[in-house]
């Protein structure tokens, strides 16, 4: 057997960038109205219709929980439970992701909690070529 070095992990979403010492987020920001988008390229702004172009924008790595669901049954093969969360990122767009580090109990979840955005291995998931991935996750700030 040949000893092949493991290839570096890939970003699990196009707005995650692994080109520096730490993973980072970058979003498109409309030059006209400042609205941010998750996709890597666009022809025009969905909000103002401007075709004036976009800047790459790195947001803060903190945000506020906007809504969530504790998911107990999902598509076949998906490990449950997990918490699906929508977070409004500080100086950034809204992002969906897993909220971890909180109990699976609505009575013990602050629905407007402050969270930090962290990066981690994509739960061990690999693509058909065996590549590992890095994803974003949300964690409560108050846990510090």
């Amino acid at each position: 057997m040949t000893d092949t070095p493991a290839s570096p992990p890939l970003p699990a979403a196009s707005y995650i960038h692994l080109d520096g010492p730490e993973p980072r987020l970058s979003f498109l920001k409309c030059k006209s109205c400042g609205t941010m988008f998750l996709e890597p390229e666009r022809l025009a702004c969905a909000r103002c219709g401007s075709r004036g172009g976009f800047d790459a924008h790195e947001p803060k790595y903190e945000g506020t929980l906007h809504s969530y669901s504790i998911v107990h049954r999902s598509f076949p093969g998906t490990a449950v439970p997990f918490i699906s969360a929508v977070v409004d990122i500080d100086d950034g767009p809204s992002l969906k992701g897993n909220l971890r580090g909180v109990p699976f109990d609505a009575d013990r979840i602050d629905g407007a909690m402050r969270v930090r955005i962290v990066f981690d291995d994509a739960l061990g998931r690999r693509d058909a070529d065996g590549n590992a991935y890095i994803s974003h996750f949300f964690e409560p700030l108050a846990a510090d």
Partner: protein, 378 residues
């Protein structure tokens, strides 16, 4: 512009038809609608067919009941598919180009699972970046409302208690069983706060409607059974900060409703009943407000007080709704017009809304669109 009337309408009982085809189900509904209007397939001048999961179903329906060479177009608009087919037919008659148009919606979806299908990626993202399942998506929409107005798990669950109760009086609903509050809340949790009994049911089904111009209704002497379409409105999602990461089911509904009220020249208080898109129990309360049935934050009181139950101030989903009647995507938007028509014609049996003259039907399709129709007894 001609006023447009419903003169024939039919919905087949929703359920499981594993040995039938979408065209066969659709054809059954169309034949029923033709009979209801007292016309034949040779009288139909143009047709629109709504179906999400299969193609060219409209033509296949005519291949079952009579191929007359008329224009037939197929439309797809997520859960607003059937309503969009009706709107296309309505426009065809309203402009004066056609006097008799057919709209039919059909779907065969038992065995598909209630969760929808996973989005494709190099690795699956479900459970990695939250959930894109429908129960979770609508749970998050409901939690957003709850965070603003304090809606409880029990208040969301009461929607299922009410709609399931209504369905016990609807022989065409797939689930006809009383579900007390504890049963709803203790059912298997799918995506908090939506339990299994707070999710709509995937079924096979079809519904069809015959629309006619005022001239044709009078010529055929059908005015005594005709129902006037006072408004047909369709909206797409305007830009919103969290959409589509968090699908926005509210804005499109609000726009479609406002357009419909303006077109009809009425207000929500003029309505006698509403069939709205209760794909999940968490959605119904939001739509009370979106459809202007109540003011901001008042949906909690609406469900607690029984205002939206049969006999209440404004009965909502007396058919049982998607939660109990079933939700065959392409047919749903036509089926809720069927329900309104029964009430406006005093044919709704024990669930009849007394004195009903004006009704509103609403659907939302993720992606996103919303359609609202307002019907009135002619």
């Amino acid at each position: 512009m001609s006023d447009v009337y419903i003169t024939g309408i039919e919905m087949i009982p929703f359920g499981r038809y594993p040995h039938r085809t979408p065209a066969s189900l659709g054809a059954e509904a169309v034949l029923g609608a033709l009979d209801d209007a007292g016309i034949t397939v040779h009288d139909v001048q143009t047709a629109y067919c709504g179906c999400v999961f299969q193609t060219m179903v409209g033509q296949k329906i005519f291949q079952q009941i009579g191929q007359t060479g008329i224009p037939v177009a197929n439309v797809s608009n997520a859960c607003a598919t059937g309503a969009t087919a009706v709107r296309e037919a309505w426009m065809a008659v309203r402009t004066g180009d056609y006097d008799i148009a057919l709209a039919v919606g059909v779907e065969q979806m038992t065995g598909m699972g209630m969760l929808g299908s996973a989005r494709q990626a190099s690795i699956p993202i479900e459970g990695l970046m939250g959930s894109t399942s429908m129960p979770a998506t609508f749970a998050e929409a409901g939690r957003e409302y709850a965070a603003k107005y304090g809606t409880s798990f029990a208040q969301f669950a009461k929607v299922s208690v009410k709609n399931h109760h209504h369905a016990t009086m609807n022989p065409k609903a797939v689930l006809r069983k009383e579900t007390p509050l504890e049963m709803v809340m203790e059912a298997e949790m799918i995506a908090y706060p939506n339990t299994k009994l707070m999710c709509s049911i995937n079924v096979d089904g079809a519904a069809a409607v015959i629309l006619m111009s005022e001239k044709k209704v009078r010529e055929l002497g059908l005015m005594d059974r005709a129902i006037r379409i006072r408004a047909s409105a369709l909206a797409s999602d305007p830009w919103q900060q969290r959409n589509p990461q968090m699908p926005d089911i509210n804005s499109a509904t609000q726009i479609a409703a406002q357009r419909a009220y303006e077109m009809a020249g009425i207000e929500a208080k003029d309505l006698d009943l509403v069939e709205l898109h209760d794909c999940f129990a968490t959605a119904e309360l939001l739509h009370y407000e979106n459809l202007q049935l109540c003011g901001a934050g008042e949906a909690n009181d609406m469900i607690d007080s029984g205002a939206t139950a049969l006999g209440g101030r404004i009965p909502v989903n007396v058919s049982g709704g998607l939660l109990s009647k079933g939700h065959p995507i392409g047919a749903t938007g036509v089926a809720n017009l069927y329900e309104l028509s029964l009430h406006l014609r005093r044919q709704a049996g024990e669930r009849q809304v007394e004195g009903a003259r004006m009704g509103l039907a609403h659907v939302v399709g993720l992606g996103t669109c919303s359609a609202v129709h307002i019907l009135e007894k002619a």
